[in-house]
Point group: C2
Chain length 482, copies 2
């Protein structure tokens, strides 16, 4: 490595560092998020390469994430969620010392069905990286390659140094002994996850100096190439979507369905008991559950949610109200803020509006571009499928009312001093776009009504009927899970 | 409890719920943060009381925090930090199911020196609550009181119900058996932490219905009283500060100190080795270390930080650049964002600017009111003392240069194309206020140069001297810790 007498970067390394800083400022100005993943064999010099990289970067624009032993918080969540929440905001560079790749290796490479589990993890990873790069993120991936003999030398040297001896565990030697068997697995992982916007760079790292320069010069080259691309921060264009079918669960919704007060009072207490039982069962089995509420304004989402949570223990059942995104949320992939809210194992999160805003309000109000919202159907399906396949529970409600019922409820709210705050100018404006929303709703349900995450349309002209239907749906769903 | 046939809140409870909603909206509009703590004996009905409270509140303005068994992330941090990061933003209500009180009980009530440790925890708690209420937060604290016999009945009933049997552990029975010994301890804790802005309410909870109504009606009463106070969101006025002494470490700074390139190249590599050793020692002993860099613009903070981090393993050593606060940070107590960045056990965080901005830039530029920045000296001393007493390490650097050196460096930056981005109009504007900043710096050092967290003034007219002094200070400090 080119350093001066004081042990600081010099010559070529210093020049690369300066150029890194220049490129970082340019990408920041263009709002491009960058992910740099550094993977490699144990003792291959990941920390040293990253130290050199960070030396050239302005810390004000960098997030650094090291994946060591998985911590409790991580293990309480599904595979992808742990990485999604660490994706960088527009214009920031996230550097990962080990990553989803090491996690996939560590968690998938044991047990009789490891090949199948690894394949599923690789599918998840491919989806994850594609969704980010579609949104404009640049992903650079390095693998530091050392020979088996060199690894042995380094592990022994660390063991001999009292400063580092404690770092070397049996696990390191186990991996070392499997060097030859792991080599083709690593090759396969890299082949499966090679992509134009997320390329791998294999770095020969037996000699640390050139390896570090290789990492830095590759980062410089790729960042520069990215800056030269036209429309760098726009993300990918939308795919062509197949036409949607004519058959929709919406058509089967019978809005005349109703429940009498008498029947409601008979059924509600029983539902409350069953909901309490359902919550405890999920908690004991450490199954997370997401309940999504979407529906027309004044369809009764809030009231239904209140009745659902009332019998539950508030420890472990949280309502997540989704409003306008914050500055920070807007600076990330739109799914990022929802991943933050995924329930940990055993807990329930009730979303009062959700990621479906992308294909409803953001579509109708022009807050998302057409390529963005068209891309979203598939992205949402992928997210939901991965979450459910990892063992999570998901219930999705669409609360359906007709335009006349909405109008009556708006007027009631205006006339009732206790409820007047609930109704705003915006509600009236949205109402004028009823037809546009109806098109968006129909398309949303058609494209995201999947076997693993089906919609339940809740006929909500009658509030008592709607509340009971939602509660029963949750109860039956949980009984099916456990 | 007053509920209707469907098991939903009715009568008095419904009326209280509606009023809660009204008060919540009013306090939100005034930007008042509210904390509601619900404590009590095991099985005293904490969850039920909170469920009733949440039923009346709009979830869009509520954060709910349950403290069960402490999780890993929590245990890696000092006592107060875990609660600070969960304090509500302006206008939001944070509801705590158990809190710092239960944590203090659980962590302090064993071992031979439990009385001393409990006292220290209570001092921390008093400080924590006072700092928040000084800033305008309203804190309401409930203790649900049940008799020993009633607790026995409830624990037995839960054990008999297959749904809840698993919740009752040996620990619950151990606490139950100590009911009589714990009673005076709980009383003492409440007496020590009673305060006008953070009052306790003891609720007789043998009968659950009235207990829940008591909690709700007390919350309603106190929120209403708060709304009637004049200037409710302004926080407390400043205390009178004693005059500062004439003797300052700044006066002892000899700005002619310098290190030759030859000497630097001799010393720097040795310092790098020692810094690496220091980092590993902290990591092994799980001691967190904060290094604060404050100093004049162009004093060389960035370069000094780069040289300090270069030899360190980036896993476990992070630079925290402090810039303008985000929207979310502005909506909290100004210390909140720094607590977020406190290092977990064994890690190093280097702050490039810090909480001292409150008494420097925020004071000089009028971003903090005079009562706010005058209050800050004591708040900062309390924060640093609690952190150090909990076993954390803290080094504070003031990088001192004279005005002539700053001018020369500003001009050099303007002339060097690689460095021009570093200098902005703002730097020149700040420079015009040199005298005002000098007064603020002198007062800051005088008021916050404490035995447990002393300042190190780094003479920085010569960059090589300054870098070596900073490194040696860190090395010696760590050697003194371990």
């Amino acid at each position: 490595m080119s350093t001066n007498a004081a042990g600081e970067p010099d010559g070529r390394l210093k020049a690369l560092g300066l150029e890194l800083g220049v490129l970082q400022r340019a990408l920041r100005a263009r709002g491009v998020p960058v992910i740099v993943v550094v993977e490699g064999w144990n003792a291959s010099g990941i920390s040293e390469a990253i130290a050199a990289l960070l030396y050239g970067l302005d810390p004000r624009g960098v997030d650094f994430h090291a994946f060591g032993r998985p911590v409790e918080e991580e293990l309480a969540h599904s595979f992808l969620r742990r990485f999604w929440v660490r994706t960088p905001a527009h214009g920031r560079i996230a550097v990962f010392a080990r990553s989803w790749y090491s996690r996939a290796m560590a968690e998938m490479l044991t047990g009789i069905d490891w090949q199948a589990r690894l394949d599923r993890a690789l599918t998840s990873i491919t989806t994850f990286e594609r969704q980010l790069t579609d949104d404009g993120t640049l992903i650079l991936k390095f693998f530091l390659q050392i020979s088996k003999e060199e690894q042995r030398r380094r592990l022994l040297a660390r063991e001999r140094d009292p400063l580092t001896a404690w770092m070397i565990t049996q696990n390191d030697w186990d991996f070392h002994r499997q060097y030859d068997e792991l080599t083709p697995v690593i090759q396969r992982i890299q082949d499966r996850t090679e992509a134009p916007c997320a390329p791998w760079r294999r770095v020969e790292a037996d000699d640390p100096g050139p390896a570090i320069e290789d990492v830095l010069s590759t980062v410089v080259k790729r960042l520069r190439a990215r800056l030269d691309e036209p429309g760098i921060a726009e993300g990918r264009r939308a795919e062509t979507l197949p036409p949607i079918g004519g058959d929709s669960p919406l058509d089967r919704a019978d809005l005349s369905l109703s429940t009498s007060r008498h029947e409601y009072e008979h059924v509600a207490p029983e539902c409350q008991t069953k909901l309490r039982t359902a919550q405890y069962s999920l908690y004991r089995r450490r199954i997370p559950l997401m309940i999504v509420y979407e529906g027309w304004d004044a369809a009764g989402k809030g009231g239904s949610i209140k009745r659902l949570t009332l019998p539950m223990n508030p420890r472990g059942c949280t309502v997540v109200p989704i409003g306008r995104p914050t500055e920070d949320e807007l600076a990330h992939h739109y799914l990022w803020r929802f991943y933050q809210q995924f329930p940990p194992a055993g807990e329930i999160r009730i979303f009062d509006r959700s990621w479906y805003g992308r294909v409803l309000v953001e579509r109708v109000e022009g807050l998302a571009t057409e390529p963005q919202w068209r891309r979203a159907y598939n992205e949402i399906n992928e997210m939901e499928r991965a979450y459910v396949e990892d063992g999570g529970g998901l219930v999705k409600f669409w609360l359906e009312i007709d335009a006349g019922t909405q109008l009556r409820r708006f007027r009631e709210r205006e006339e009732n001093p206790d409820k007047r705050w609930k109704i705003t100018e915006e509600d009236w404006r949205n109402r004028e776009k009823w037809e546009q929303y109806a098109v968006a709703v129909r398309e949303m349900i058609a494209r995201t009504h999947t076997p693993q995450a089906p919609w339940t349309v809740v006929e909500s002209n009658d509030k008592l009927f709607a509340r009971i239907k939602a509660q029963r749906t949750v109860i039956e769903y949980v009984n099916g899970l456990i």
